[in-house]
């Protein structure tokens, strides 16, 4: 009887570039074109009904520059799965998961705000933590932390 993780690797391993274990959690490294297929399979066949998180990591010295990281939870087995894909800075676009999970809306907006990665199919990529008129993407490594962009003119 294969374990939860073994079953996933058997079924989805061929679609992944690499799979490994990170402190007890299965990590699948996939290509952006495989994202929707893999996530649908995880949701429909493996019970990953809770989309926990999407975030990105910036490696400015590396090509492709960004790592987009997804976390899923299967409540019935209480196991988590991490998905990673790599995105180039100049073609920073990833398919959206809003069709499968409603919670993707806000989280993808945040990643767009902070890193500038677009989610194809998510019609609502307005700023969420920042404001319109803010130039740049703060969590990128080349954005200086103290660079403020005030809206209200300072007194004195």
């Amino acid at each position: 009887m294969p374990t939860f993780y073994e079953a996933i690797v058997d079924r989805l391993g061929p679609r992944c570039l690499r799979t490994w274990d990170s402190h007890g959690m299965l990590v699948l490294d996939i290509d952006a074109s495989q994202l929707l297929v893999v996530v649908e399979a995880l949701k429909a066949d493996f019970g990953c009904a809770l989309f926990l998180d999407v975030t990105a990591v910036d490696y400015p010295a590396r090509q492709p520059r960004f790592d987009v990281v997804y976390h899923f939870l299967a409540p019935a087995q209480m196991q988590r799965v991490r998905l990673k894909l790599q995105v180039d800075e100049h073609a920073a676009e990833v398919p959206t998961l809003t069709g499968l999970f409603g919670s993707a809306r806000y989280m993808e907006r945040e990643v767009h705000d902070m890193y500038g990665i677009r989610f194809a199919g998510n019609a609502d990529l307005r700023p969420i933590l920042l404001y319109e008129g803010f130039e740049g993407h703060p969590l990128r490594k080349d954005y200086a932390m103290e660079h403020e962009q005030p809206i209200v003119p300072y007194r004195t």
Partner: protein, 163 residues
Amino acid sequence: MAVMDYLTTRKDDLVGWVRKFSLFPYPFVTACCGMEFMSVSSTLYDTDRFGAALPRFTPRQSDLLMVVGTVSHKQAQVIRKIYDQMCEPKWVMAFGACATSGGFYRNYAVVQGVDKVIPVDIYVPGCPPRPEMVIDAIMMLQDRIANDKHPILPSEQPPPERS
């Protein structure tokens, strides 16, 4: 005339006494200091003893704007508009380290002190400040209001505009 001066100072004392014991705060609560604000308004450390208990959640009816918590750049427009909507006389208390000077957030999102956007009368340091410090601040503000000039008669000059 000396008698007019004497009457004006007595009037100032009376108006100052009335204004200091009937402060209507507008708690502009954003962050963790809001928890201490809730504590200071509750039974153990009561602001009702100082007349400053009833919060008026509209700027039109309040006279003490308490900026409780961190002000981000996104929020700065809101606070400027609220300050502009308040009528004279009005006072501003910067409650907490973040409102006073940005706290320990020195980054792209936080205004380094709300006094960059609105004039502040009294600063309360602390992260978050103990309720006793807030009460001390209210008492200091009350002393200032008591000793201030209150030009309410038509013959007196209105106070200079602070922006």
